[in-house]
């Protein structure tokens, strides 16, 4: 009677088959389980608001403002007036159509950005007309707002990550923002915080229909940190104003702490140029300006010969090495023969006998050439002498990266014996061969921040703290410790040199930098420089250089000022330095006439000379 049971048997077999398939789908193959999590649940990052940046006096430098992205979901659009919308967005119709096509190619269901970081003003106009464009909507996001038009070289900027960034750090996903330069880059992790996650339930049209499991699995973001910089924004602003229409840099450091009070690079640019939808075109404009190079941070990256200020370092090394003392005198006859047939000029009168102090304030080349010779010859061989000299300089942070908290910089250059052995064969060079180093010309290269740093070391009588920009994070002073670094010079040797630097202002080369009531110590520099013009080495007008610190006792500020092609040191650099000091210490300027001259004066004619294509005169 199988006939009576055939359907029962069938039912059983089918049920077994179903059970087997169920076991496969639900118990064995996890493949279908994870897929479900992917297509039904949207994992969406939750960004903490990016941290604010304040200056040392708690003035807001950088905060956030709402920006808007115009998004489109191609599927939801209807026929619309592309011409009107593209003109609202200030896009050409071709570009607009290209963006729409790209969005369609990416996905017709998932939103794509058509125009990013629309300003508040444009946003208002678009918002009003948006009803005409179904499928388009504005998505709010947080973008940077800069309260001052200065300090862009310090603050840097943020922009959307590219593919390379995402490869380097898997934290970032497409469309997220990343610090590109300056503080924004160096303190990226502190300023951004740590994004969290929110999970949303999606439907099959990819629409969010609510939080997933009431947010049970959400991860709260770690809030970002606000930071205080060591910058005094008023000083920064003033410095940028002083360098207007000039090229150069100012670096001001508080010697006791190594805190950078101002870092000015001229020409600079308004940091707000790199916010919003014009960022990339503005950036291109700035980057393409290869003549005045606004993106080039002259304070950190420009490597110049240090010039006369370097003499004070040679003096310190000589004192430490015992090859001179403060009474040592050398005779200058408007210069001297440092080797047979090789004469180094000096502006001292014939027969001048300079001691250390007067040599510094008169900036006597002869004196320091002899001093340098003594340093080099103090050891068994010139090589040893030179390497020892370099060693001293390294202790002032020269010839290497300083280790400050920005990702831009240059090491400068201090030559050693190997370097000269390559040029001349070994033993083929002696002190006179490299005599230019004595007066800060020759092969030596320094950056303005290195100059400011060694000035701070002198002001501290023998040590410096690695210069830095961070003062506190969330008001917590205990930030990363910046080391105190001792120089190789004993503190007793600093006094005669500092006396000389004080005389520079009192009765030496930089009388113009005197400030009533403040004992300023400094040293001018006038630096010969050359460029290659039409294949020929051409000399340009000298760079104007000044280093200074003040007051003499318990110095509050040490700085280096550099004005390209500004001619002699006290013409531009020294007055600017004195105004900076006065501004920082006294808060107001008494020497208005000098201030006006500096603020209004410019060197654009000078910079135009080599570009004019005509013969030109220098140092006039």
């Amino acid at each position: 009677m199988t006939r009576n049971y055939f359907l029962q048997t069938f039912t059983f077999i089918i049920a077994l088959a179903f059970t087997a398939k169920l076991i496969e789908l639900q118990l064995i193959s996890s493949n279908y389980k994870s897929l479900s999590e992917n297509n039904a649940v949207l994992e969406s990052p939750v960004f903490p608001e990016r941290g604010f940046v304040y200056d040392r006096n708690n003035k807001v430098l950088v905060a956030n403002q709402p920006g808007y992205d115009l998004m489109v979901i191609p599927e939801s659009t209807t026929k619309f007036d592309t011409l009107e919308l593209s003109s609202l967005l200030n896009l050409s119709i071709e570009r607009f159509n290209l963006k729409i096509r790209k969005a369609i190619r990416y996905s017709i269901k998932i939103p794509s950005i058509i125009s990013s970081e629309i300003s508040k003003e444009t946003h208002a106009i678009i918002q009003e007309k948006l009803w005409k464009y179904p499928g388009f909507y504005l998505q709010k996001k947080s973008i940077r707002k800069y309260y001052y038009k200065v300090g862009s070289n310090i603050l840097g900027y943020i922009s959307e990550v590219n593919e390379n960034d995402m490869l380097m750090d898997s934290y970032y996903q497409s469309g997220e923002l990343l610090g590109r330069q300056g503080i924004e880059k160096y303190y990226e992790k502190i300023l951004r915080g740590e994004k969290g996650k929110a999970f949303y339930q999606k439907d099959r049209y990819n629409r969010i229909i609510g939080p997933y499991e009431d947010g049970k699995f959400d991860i709260a973001p770690i809030p970002a940190n606000n930071i205080n910089l060591t910058i005094d924004i008023e000083l920064q602003k003033y410095g940028e104003a002083l360098l207007k229409n000039k090229r150069g840099g100012i670096v001001a450091i508080e010697p006791e702490t190594g805190e950078i009070l101002a870092l000015i690079s001229s020409p600079g640019y308004d940091p707000n140029l790199l916010v919003g939808k014009e960022r990339s075109s503005n950036y291109r404009k700035l980057a393409n300006d290869t003549i005045s190079k606004p993106l080039f941070d002259r304070g950190l990256q420009a490597q110049y010969s240090p010039g006369s200020p370097f003499k004070v370092l040679n003096a310190l090394i000589a004192l430490q090495e015992g090859v001179i003392n403060k009474e040592t005198k050398f005779t200058c006859n408007k210069g001297h023969f440092y080797a047979r047939g090789a004469f180094m000029e000096c502006h001292c009168k014939i027969g001048t006998k300079n001691n250390l102090t007067s040599a510094i304030y008169k900036s006597c080349n002869t004196y320091f050439a002899n001093t340098y010779k003594n340093i080099i010859n103090s050891k068994d061989s010139p090589s040893d002498g030179l390497n020892n000299w370099k060693n001293h300089l390294s202790s002032f942070g020269l010839g290497k990266y300083l280790g400050y908290d920005l990702a831009t910089g240059q090491p400068g250059f201090i030559p050693d014996a190997n370097y000269y052995n390559k040029w001349y064969k070994k033993g083929g060079w002696k002190a006179p061969t490299i005599i230019s180093n004595s007066i800060g010309q020759g092969e030596i290269l320094t950056t303005p921040i290195q100059m400011a740093n060694f000035t701070a070391a002198i002001a501290n009588r023998g040590f410096y703290i690695t210069p830095h920009f961070i003062k506190s994070i969330n008001g917590d002073k205990k930030t990363k410790k910046f080391e105190k670094k001792r120089t190789t010079i004993d503190s007793i040797y600093f006094e005669p040199v500092i006396d000389g630097m004080e005389k520079v202002i009192q009765n030496g080369t930089a009388k113009i930098a005197r400030i009533k009531g403040i004992e300023v110590c400094g040293k001018t520099g006038t630096i010969e420089n050359f460029i290659r013009l039409n294949g020929k080495k051409t000399q340009l007008t000298d760079h104007s250089m000044f280093i200074a610190f003040a007051p003499k006792d318990n110095p509050k500020i040490a700085l280096a000022v550099f004005v390209e092609n500004g001619y002699w040191g006290s013409r531009w650099a020294a007055p600017i330095a004195s105004l900076m000091i006065e501004k920082y210490i006294n808060k107001n300027i008494k020497k208005k006439w000098l201030e006006n001259r500096m603020l209004n004066g410019g060197l654009n004619d000078e910079y135009f000379k080599p570009l004019s294509g005509k013969p030109f005169r220098i140092n006039e």
């Binding site: 359907l7 059983f12 639900q26 297509n39």
Partner: protein, 417 residues
């Protein structure tokens, strides 16, 4: 109805029935649950509950009807049903391209559902006739005719899914003595059909020739006198069949038909287009794991990823929210229901009642196989509901009435009429 009915009625089936309809309501509620309003009582689930109450009221009324009444009125019921199917061409409403619905005062009615009851009655009446013997060609042709009449009307709607369901009535014929050779033939044809789609046609033809030759040598070797003609005939007809399948598949079928088969056979992968429903259903079921995500917790269900989830794909909700245990439990209840009814049918002495109960079982069986098979991706997608579980008033009413008629027939097993 009398007092002894309580003792005579099949409580196992009532129990199964209640489990299924309540479980159905739960899953319909979940499938149509809207997060925002947190309520859908006034919509689909409400309608389904109303239909359930109507079904039970009708059902209780049915319990009091004598078997003889059904037998006498079978033909009339059948004719009314056919008329209602014909009427669709004049008064019907087209939904999703099929003209299968009447709209009566806000309620949509699907007459093809009720045609299932009517046809069951007519088959039972035919098979229980004094002169009917299914082994007899005349009786068989009459039986086939009874089935094909509504099928042809339903195909014209067109609603091929429901039409296929009517094939389940052939299962009764086998119970009543139809040769199993027909069944073997059918399965062989289906097998050959699938093989034709899966393998190169030349290869299959050569294989058939080789197998036939081998078989002939084998039987000749064993007994030189045996006839080789039947083997040759089978071989040739197989090849003809394969060639015609090939022709039909590639020349008569449209691309969309071919796609359905190809997706089911795994020849082409298409998770975004036609294969979307099945794939989403499998994802939902697979995501349930052992214990499922719990009532209203199914992310696939909430996300509405599976189309038609409250109707044809309700099993994916079960799979996702109740997991393997829930799905297996549901299958078990169906198996118990079907086998219990079949066993009880065998105890019947009245042929009308027995064939009718066989009809009910076959109907439920076919729905069960096709619907769950489709949800699991084992069968091509054919839009038919899962009895008692899927949303749909006509379907729920139809199957409820069938259950109550069963309860009636079973409890009166010992009465002659």
């Amino acid at each position: 109805m009398n007092k002894t009915l309580i003792y005579r009625i099949d409580w196992i089936i009532i129990f199964c029935y209640l489990i299924l309809v309540v479980f159905g309501l739960i899953n319909i509620y979940s499938s149509t649950y809207d997060n925002e309003t947190s309520s859908n009582l006034n919509s689909l689930i409400g309608k389904q509950i109303i239909f359930l109450l109507i079904s039970i009221s009708f059902g209780i009324f049915i319990l009091g009807i004598r078997t003889r009444f059904f037998q006498q009125f079978s033909f009339i019921i059948y004719m009314i049903s056919l008329l209602s199917l014909i009427g669709l061409f004049i008064f019907g409403q087209t939904v999703n391209g099929a003209n299968s619905w009447y709209f009566l005062g806000g309620i949509s009615v699907q007459p093809s559902e009720f045609a299932k009851i009517a046809t069951t009655f007519m088959i039972a009446k035919h098979l229980s006739g004094f002169q009917t013997n299914i082994k007899n060609k005349k009786s068989l042709i009459m039986g086939v005719f009874i089935i094909l009449l509504p099928v042809s009307l339903i195909i014209m709607q067109p609603d091929p899914g429901s039409a296929i369901i009517f094939c389940s009535f052939f299962l009764i014929f086998f119970r009543e003595g139809l040769s199993f050779n027909y069944l073997i033939l059918t399965f062989s044809a289906i097998g050959l059909f699938l093989v034709t789609l899966l393998a190169p046609i030349n290869f299959i033809i050569y294989s058939i020739v080789l197998i036939s030759l081998f078989f002939i040598f084998y039987i000749k070797n064993k007994n030189p006198k045996s006839k080789i003609f039947p083997t040759i005939l089978i071989g040739i007809s197989s090849i003809v069949f394969i060639l015609s399948v090939n022709f039909i598949f590639y020349s008569v079928f449209e691309q969309r038909h071919r796609d359905r088969f190809n997706i089911m056979l795994g020849i082409i992968e298409d998770t975004k287009g036609l294969g979307y429903n099945v794939n989403q259903s499998k994802i939902a079921i697979g995501s349930g794991g052992l214990t499922g995500k719990g009532f209203l917790q199914g992310t696939q269900t909430k996300g509405n990823f599976v189309p038609e989830q409250q109707t044809d794909y309700i099993f994916s909700t079960v799979g996702e929210e109740w997991g393997f245990l829930g799905s297996f439990g549901l299958i078990t209840v169906f198996v118990v229901l079907i086998i219990r009814m079949l066993n009880q049918a065998e105890k019947q002495t009245n042929i009308f009642r027995r064939t009718f109960i066989y009809g009910i079982s076959s109907l439920i069986f076919t729905h069960f196989v096709i619907n769950i098979g489709m949800s699991l991706g084992l069968l091509p997608s054919i839009g038919i509901p899962l009895p008692f579980i899927s949303y749909g008033g006509s379907s729920l009413l139809t199957f409820s009435l069938l259950i109550f008629i069963y309860l009636n027939f079973d409890s009166n097993r010992l009465n002659d009429w």
